[in-house]
């Protein structure tokens, strides 16, 4: 922030203060001194910004994220049953907020659009004094908001974002991601698909025509080809095509015996439903049963495809049926409050909020550079994914990856997926430099 800005603001603040009787707290972005940092909390509370899609196609996922955040805030402030705070390997958090300050929060609507997401992140930082921004349900939004947080000097804890770019070529020092990525999906799926379908298979890709689709297609292609599979074709489909029939019919006679749908959200629901209608799941090609694969599964979305997901492989970051202590504690806490189990989006958001709070506690400060340093290289356990590490080189969490399959005999409408295999972390790890990009320096802002 330049001096000019400060001058303007002091004046503006004086006038404004006179106008409204000085009753408004002004975020420290405008008032702090050179040693401070953006929105340094001064009172007895600290404000977090939850930026989730509340309108548009991912609104349900956003609503679930928000539920998880509210739960996390409750637990951080010592309410409820404490959820995963009890199972978390780090015991710094004592249920008295963060560093003794009560946790408060503000919310915003990303609309799953970069502009709207940045706008609402800016509001939370500029007006509401948020010290950290978290949430989101798509990679485009995550990358855009992460870049903003870097400029503004606040920490960004990404929500659901699966593209390699978020912690690859678009990574930023102030940004951290707990969710897994396309590369890990591919690495985990490859061997499982080989075990399930053999190594002599021909795959046909339908790929959503944007960054995430391309990186997913690339990863899955690489790893299945390593298992001896061939790729018949990789066809790009427009985002939000609705009816995919014109892309599905060429699959029928292409000689391929596996269809890989690199689609997410509504596209996935529609293309999968329609592919099943075209009889692909019951088809025989080259003397083998035809198979469909969905690299990134979301349980919440998979419910939209109903019966059609049965027997279809994919990967997921977390699933509520996991039996480790952390997952059980979280499912119990969430389920008792809301009456249904949390989604993977809710899980990753809850974990991100807890991890941020814990890092502040360990760093003894809310200063982004200190918090970031506390997160870098941090190893922990008990948050539902087994032993996990926040890699310092790219701020990506490394943990086991779940390969799942649509359940044949679901017992409830939430019981859509079953975990087939837990791929150990070592098998999905990669060198931080392969995707390019650079983190740069932490920015404390102000």
């Amino acid at each position: 922030m330049g001096d000019v800005l400060k001058g303007v603001n002091r004046r503006g603040v004086l006038k404004g203060g006179a106008a409204v009787g000085g009753a408004l707290a002004v975020p420290t972005i405008f008032t702090s001194n050179a040693w401070g940092y953006t929105n340094e909390p001064t009172g007895g509370s600290v404000t977090l910004g939850f930026n989730v899609p509340q309108t548009g196609p991912y609104a349900d996922e956003g609503a679930d994220e928000l539920r998880a955040y509210e739960l996390a805030v409750e637990h951080l402030n010592g309410g409820g049953d404490g959820g995963m705070l009890g199972t978390f390997s780090s015991k710094e958090l004592g249920g008295n907020g963060i560093l003794g300050k009560k946790v408060e929060y503000v919310t915003g609507d990303t609309q799953t659009k970069s502009d709207a997401a940045r706008s609402s992140a800016k509001r939370m930082v500029e007006k509401d004094g948020a010290i950290m921004i978290t949430g989101g349900s798509s990679s485009g939004v995550a990358v855009a908001v992460q870049a903003y947080c870097q400029e503004a000097g606040v920490i960004f804890m990404a929500g659901l974002t699966h593209s390699n770019d978020t912690t690859g070529k678009d990574k930023r020092a102030n940004g951290f991601r707990h969710f897994f990525n396309s590369y890990m999906s591919g690495a985990a799926l490859g061997p499982v698909l080989k075990n399930a379908y053999g190594s002599d298979r021909v795959a046909y890709h339908l790929t959503a025509d944007y960054n995430w689709g391309w990186t997913t297609e690339e990863s899955v292609k690489d790893f299945t080809e390593q298992q001896g599979w061939q790729t018949a074709a990789a066809v790009r489909t427009p985002l939000g095509a609705g009816d995919f029939s014109q892309y599905i019919t060429p699959v029928l006679n292409s000689g391929a015996d596996v269809l890989i749908l690199n689609h997410y959200g509504k596209d996935m629901v529609n293309s999968l439903t329609q592919a099943v209608q075209f009889g692909l799941r019951d088809k025989q090609v080259n003397g083998k049963d035809f198979a469909i694969v969905v690299p990134l599964y979301s349980r919440l979305m998979a419910q939209g495809a109903g019966e059609n997901v049965k027997g279809i492989y994919g990967s997921t970051n977390w699933h509520w049926s996991l039996q480790d202590e952390g997952s059980k504690a979280f499912v119990k806490s969430f389920g008792q409050k809301y009456g249904f189990p949390p989604s993977q989006a809710a899980h990753t958001c809850y974990v991100q909020a807890i991890l941020y709070a814990d890092a502040c506690q360990r760093a003894g400060s809310f200063r982004p550079s200190a918090v970031g340093a506390a997160l870098e290289g941090f190893s922990f356990d008990g948050l539902g994914n087994g032993p996990t590490e926040y890699r310092a080189e790219d701020h990506q969490c490394f943990k086991d990856v779940l390969v799942v399959k649509g359940k044949e005999n679901p017992t409830s409408k939430f019981d859509v997926l079953e975990v087939v295999e837990v791929t150990p972390r070592a098998k999905v790890e990669y060198d931080a430099s392969i995707f390019g990009g650079e983190l740069g320096e932490f920015n404390d802002g102000a």
Binding site: V8, G12, V20, T107, K113, S114, D115, P238, L239
Partner: protein, 397 residues
Amino acid sequence: MSTATAAPVSKAIPQVGEPKATSKGDLMTLAIFIAVVLTAPIWAIPIGAGYPDLLQKFAIFGVFAIGFNILFGLTGYLSFGHAAFLGGGSYIAVWSFKLLGMNILPAVLFGTLFGGLFALAIGFVALRRSGIYFSILTLAFAQMSYNLAYSVLTPVTNGETGLRVLRDDPRIFDDKSGGYDGTLIGNLFGLEMTGYTAFYFCASVLIIAFYISQRIFRSPFGLMLRAIKNNQTRMKFTGLNTRPYALTAFVISGMYAGLAGSLMAVTDPLAGAERMQWTASGEVVLMTILGGTGTLLGPILGAVSIKYFENIFSAYNKSQLLDTFSFLPDSIAEPLVSVLGLFVGEGWHLTLGVLFMLIVIYLPGGLMEGARRVSAMLRKRKAEKTDASSGQTTPAE
């Protein structure tokens, strides 16, 4: 005309809320407008909008809507593709940052020019048709731009992720030596475009844009455009080719859109394809109609209200509502909050939809119509007082 029902856009839009078209009245309007815009950081605080980003958005979308109104308000041509110029302006501005450096002047200049050129190309084709055929042509061009920018043009637009300035971009005029910290923020000869500085820059542009639009409205050219709207056929019978005039208006409004797009990049060096989507084109149409088509101030009012609703209503959540009404007993507060909760946070779209309907049902002519009615009422009351002796009231317009 086959049916009497398909009323032309023109007839029913009253010229409301305008001070008389004298130069004195115009100067007054301009002076008040400048004062209101420049004091925005103060008066916006009580309504919760007093922070830089939203004020910048007010100014930028104000520019966009003013420009759109020059086309739609004056000529009656309803374009459904203006987002293409907005998005195009943004892309060009960011490319100017990437190649030439972070100075905003070339970015704004090229963005505006590109908006104009793009509009010239599209307008040249689309203006061959009128009415809804014109609307669909502009929509088609904008949707093609959007779909391509999102997918196959990714090398130029960076697709879904959006185009951003990177540290290793050429930026040939930037001094990259000697401890330059590499913050990629637009600047005006060293003055960084963040926070209120950026707002005052956008506000200055808005004032200039408003002034120009005022001049256009009052000029013979503006008169000609209105004539096109009122009766194109009659104009043609007089032997006058109206298309060059309409095309000029289209290009001017395209330049406004390009300008607004480049301002978006100035305040936030990023450009995404979704700025070109039909919903974005539709938004500016809604802003203009909501505020009052064909009025000078209406479109800006419309832009401010829509952006205000988008940013402020979406920000409320249940716990804040409960806090607000904590002074009420629980038995009243809880049902109240659950009803109000429908309209804020995730329900802000509902508020917007209801607002659209209420305004258009009760205030045909938009917010400016409301302003006119209020002022007419006040004037009437005043007139009743002063004219009490003569027993006559001056009819309000």
